[in-house]
């Protein structure tokens, strides 16, 4: 699984989901409308930089706080293909994986990236490349790679629920 994108960079640490998508809009369920509020509390002009082929480069503990899935849903719908960060907060990290939006950690790659950098991600090889320079990413557990490849938790679970109403096993029911 290989992906390529142009970097949009949010360098600061501890960016919380409240600034990424303010609470006032949590009653929005239409994904197209969610995209209009992405980054609103941080820097709305970031929205103009998303070009449908974006690699979002972020700092440490990105996505802290609320479990609101509006953030990664709006990101995916805005053309963010994957995220490279120093580290991620737990629920945001889960939400991205569950939506099939790859999130990987590589502090060195974040350091090397600047706005507009060409970034490619090879999940199987565990390598992220920034303007031609390769960096190793923190290992992604096999199960999470399986979810990325499946396209997220919805298709992954759908395939299993079709087979059996109750038994869900990790890696247990490959074709």
């Amino acid at each position: 699984m290989s992906l390529e994108g142009r970097a949009v960079v949010i360098r600061q640490d501890d960016v919380d989901t409240d600034v990424l998508y303010p609470g006032a809009y949590l009653n929005v369920t239409d994904v197209a409308q969610m995209t209009q509020h992405l980054f609103e509390g941080l820097d709305p002009s970031l929205r103009d930089q998303l070009g449908g082929d974006t690699a979002l480069v972020v700092g440490a503990n990105f996505g802290a706080g609320s479990s609101r899935e509006h953030v990664p849903q709006a990101m995916a719908a805005s053309g963010i293909r994957f995220l490279v960060g120093r580290s991620f907060a737990r629920i945001f990290y889960r939400n991205c994986i569950n939506l099939g939006l790859p999130v990987v950690m590589s502090p060195e790659a974040v350091e090397a990236a600047s706005p507009g950098s060409t970034i490619s991600l090879d999940l199987e090889a565990g390598i992220v490349t920034v303007d031609g320079r390769p960096f190793r990413i923190n290992p992604v557990p096999a199960f999470l790679r399986e979810l990325f490849v499946a396209g997220g938790l919805v298709p992954w679970l759908r395939a299993r629920l079709d087979r059996s109403a109750t038994v869900v096993e990790i890696g247990g029911s490959e074709e």
Partner: protein, 422 residues
């Protein structure tokens, strides 16, 4: 092999024979909870998963509490969807005016017992750790998987042992204990970890104070946080629940990632300054900051304990002329108990507003959001930029003594000064 309490709880909820930190396992839920924000998106994802019925209607609880009472038609539509879906699925549903804030409701109504696993579509689901449960806050797609299959994936966390020793001072509460922990380990210090609260200082805490501590485990970035069950929990659950439970603890020789010790004898009241729960200072360093609004309530500190503390500060006094005070009991039970004790009358007499239980302005939803340039002191759990309204407003987190004292003084002040001023 010795195990931490987190490992023991997860082992009892998987098909694995052994678990170790970092292993990804499928975990069975005892209870799945959702609300008017995570619910509608979860129901849509559940449909996309091809599931038409929840895995077990007896294990699903729905509580509308965020944009409650409906602040606009869009919110009302979501709440209608929640109501209709709950009826169609035959799951437990706490109507507005008969429940309150989800976490308080689930604890009060006996859904939470020690050793249980509770998946909730809200990041403060870790609150259930007050009773020794593994509460995990999840997003909508995770909740959809829980509703459809009764399971979620989980990387087994390591454990940070948080030991509270000594006796806390008069105006120090559970709020200060957890702020001290966040100050110590940082807002990402608990990443991939569970916090386990132990020590004589932990055992001495009431359930209300444990709720305040466990509630903010997520503000340290942790997977969850909990107190091993003890006699205090047993007494609280007596007559409240039919669910079976046993008191488990970490094995003494279990492998802990770290130990943090907090000496309560030396702990002053604390304040988290804008714009991070990790931006913690002793109260003395925050004294003198003017406030425009005081907000006492939410899932961490809207209990009877908190309201009694606020009442003690406000009894016979007036809210400062420049200040608005909003009191939000966390549940209908708390609301009625406060009513019966005369606290609500006391608050209104002092010039405060008393709200129905709601998440309300805590997350910037409705019922008291802030204007640019305003400052608030609150007993809530997050003070991120823009959390309670304008990005140009500042929120200070503190305990109910400190918040109520500020309501009287119009600025942050030591509650001992207010108490001594009569």
């Amino acid at each position: 092999m010795p195990h931490t309490l987190a490992e023991k709880i997860l082992l009892a909820h998987t098909d694995e024979d052994e678990v170790a930190p970092g292993d990804i396992v499928m975990v069975r839920c005892d209870v799945v909870m959702t609300n008017d924000i995570s619910g509608p998106m979860a129901f849509r994802a559940m449909e996309q998963m091809g599931a038409t019925k929840v895995f077990d209607p007896a294990k699903v609880v729905v509580v509308p509490d965020h944009f409650v009472p409906a602040k606009d038609t869009r919110s009302a539509e979501l709440q209608k969807l929640l109501r209709d879906w709950s009826a169609a699925q035959g799951v437990a549903y706490y109507e507005q005016g008969r429940g309150g804030i989800e976490h308080t409701v689930l604890v009060e109504e006996g859904w939470v017992v020690p050793g249980s696993v509770i998946a909730g579509g809200d990041s403060h689901t870790c609150t259930y750790g007050a009773l020794g449960a593994f509460g995990t806050g999840l997003g909508s797609t995770d909740i959809a998987a829980c509703l459809a299959s009764g399971t979620f994936w989980q990387a087994v966390p390591g454990t940070i042992l948080v030991e509270f020793t000594g006796e806390k001072g008069r105006f120090v509460t559970g709020k200060d204990l957890i702020l001290a922990v966040i100050a110590e380990i940082g807002v990402a210090g608990g990443t991939n970890m569970a916090l386990e609260f132990v020590g004589d200082g932990a055992e001495a805490l009431s359930i209300d104070e444990r709720l305040a501590v466990a509630n903010m485990a997520v503000e340290a970035g942790s997977e969850t946080g909990f107190f091993p069950a003890d006699a205090t929990v047993a007494a609280y659950l007596d007559g409240r629940t039919e669910r079976p439970w046993t008191a488990e603890r970490s094995d003494p020789d279990a492998d802990f990632a770290a130990t943090v010790r907090i000496d309560l004898d030396a702990l002053p009241p604390l304040v988290a300054l804008p714009h991070s729960p990790g931006n913690v200072v002793p109260l003395a360093e925050a004294v003198g900051r003017k406030v425009d609004q005081v907000y006492i309530g939410n899932c961490s500190n809207g209990t009877m304990t908190d309201l009694r503390q606020a009442a003690e500060m406000l009894r016979g006094r007036k809210i400062h002329p420049r200040v608005r005070a909003i009191i939000v009991p966390a549940s209908q039970r708390v609301y009625r108990e406060a009513l019966a004790e005369g606290l609500l009358d006391l608050f209104v007499e002092a010039g405060a507003m008393v709200s129905t239980p709601t998440c309300g302005a805590c997350f910037g939803g409705s019922g008291g959001v802030l204007a640019p340039g305003e400052n608030a002191i609150t007993t809530t759990n997050r003070n991120f930029r823009g959390r309670m309204g304008s990005s140009e407003a500042g929120v200070h987190l503190a305990n109910a003594w400190v918040a109520a004292a500020a309501a009287v003084a119009g600025e942050i002040v030591d509650p001992a000064e207010i108490a001594g001023a009569t």
